[in-house]
Symmetry: C2
Subunit: 283 residues, 2 copies
């Protein structure tokens, strides 16, 4: 067991098992081949060829979104997709550009479109000793129930930016008021591409650091976290190295924290695997 | 002109113009094809085939180093290589492993072996306002004479680790005493692969941050820096975006500083190009 194992786990994507999904002259997703096969029944909306698929729907974002929604509804009926999440993500050519369409969050890995989220390291520091506030995911979460998590994390829904998502999730998940979370600073972006049961996750995590005041204790408001605990970073790192206790992608966020704060150092044999491996090229 | 241009400049490597160099069952370098052609005259030491080259010399690190040195000497005589630098870098399977051989620094890009260096951000902070101590490279430097540089930077010579190199270079280049530089923290590693006149640079930069005390002014001791200036980070970033005033790879180190300290933020259209583009996969 090693730190690099945690990173490899998040980068299980195999190009041989997928084909690119195009829209409007741009590659917008990665379709696993079985999912591409399932799309062939919807040839008016998606043209699936041997080595690529293309979204044929054109028009305004609203119009394309409705057309894709009809396909998603059919896929849910065919049990190709889990039930609706009723939360939509923007699908755009690239980060910051206007969306081509909006997609229900539950369908994002099926199409392998890039998804963006925010993750917050809530830390306390005593000299060289760091601790992190760690949440435990509720037992009814769809993904990684019961596993350990950042103090705040969430997907960036349509129309939201990274900063607005952080403010919203900080309030909902950990009862951190807007005036307090304003002290958090963006510190980078991590990327990975992973095959899951549903398809392919092509994820970007915007990472924020937040020095939590000593007199503040996070409390969950939305039922997604069953409790919070302040843990010494050294113990967290050992647990990351030797167990799968943390949600799959949270391992990466905390390893990045350890690199940026000089806890993992160049004399560690895994240093370059970690410092470099947290950043998969965005193609 | 953009931040991404500075990153692209450092990643000009084109696989079609190079072939892998193998030693001891591992890919240890990238040979540009004209350099590979020149090695054919030294067929007892290097076997050059159509799409790969191999170091044939075997034995102890000292023995292999002497054999490769003889070839380097011949290449210098043939004017394929610049004059000796009389400083050797370790060539190993990977960072931290024992070297297969040592190579004169002047020959590193010819063989395209991975080179490691340290770069130090020497900063001062006043609330949200950061300044960096910036050096100007002496006019007689072989690479990028007269350009702007980090307060301290240097290649990791054979037998040195990253931390020891930092201590040595901090003393020589900026007269920062060991007791003071001990406060610097490693904060990550940046990677790029670049074609130059001499061949291919496959570089890893270990980055350190150091909050410079207000009462400390760097002074150069080894003649490599003609002077130091404290510059506001905002002005530095604008200069990076619009000019080539900084040494090619120093642009990357400062962009990383701006990302880690929340100066460049996710709402910048170049944010992901920068935060992600500073980390080329190590293959």
């Amino acid at each position: 067991m090693s730190f690099a194992d945690r990173i490899r786990h998040c980068n299980s994507y195999d190009p041989a098992r997928a084909m690119p999904l195009w829209a409007d002259g741009h590659r917008i997703g990665w379709l696993r081949r079985d999912n591409a096969e399932a799309l062939k029944r919807h040839g008016k909306v998606f043209e699936v060829r041997r080595d690529r698929a293309e979204l044929l729907a054109e028009g305004s974002c609203d119009k394309v979104s409705r057309t894709v929604d009809d396909v998603v509804e059919a896929l849910v009926a065919e049990r190709r997709l889990p039930k609706w999440r009723n939360e939509t993500f923007d699908v755009a050519r690239r980060w910051g550009e206007p969306p081509i369409f909006r997609l229900d969050r539950g369908a994002v890995p099926f199409f392998g479109v890039r998804a963006y989220g925010v993750h917050l390291n809530g830390y306390r520091r005593d000299g060289d000793q760091y601790s992190l506030w760690i949440g435990r995911r509720a037992s009814n979460k769809q993904i990684d129930p019961g596993k350990l998590d950042n103090i705040v994390a969430g997907g960036i829904g349509n129309g939201y930016g990274a900063a607005a998502t952080l403010v919203k999730e900080a309030e909902e998940e950990a009862a951190i008021p807007a005036a307090l979370i304003a002290r958090a600073a963006p510190v980078g972006a991590l990327t990975y591409r992973m095959e899951t049961k549903l398809g392919i996750r092509d994820d970007v995590m915007f990472v924020y650091d937040f020095e939590v005041p000593d007199d503040f204790t996070p409390t969950n408001g939305d039922g997604e976290i069953s409790g919070f605990e302040l843990m010494p970073l050294a113990a967290i790192l050992e647990r990351i190295r030797t167990t799968m206790d943390f949600k799959f992608n949270v391992n990466l966020v905390i390893l990045d924290f350890a690199v940026r704060h000089g806890i993992l150092r160049p004399d560690d044999p895994e240093y370059l695997d970690v410092a470099n491996g947290l950043h998969r090229p965005l193609d």
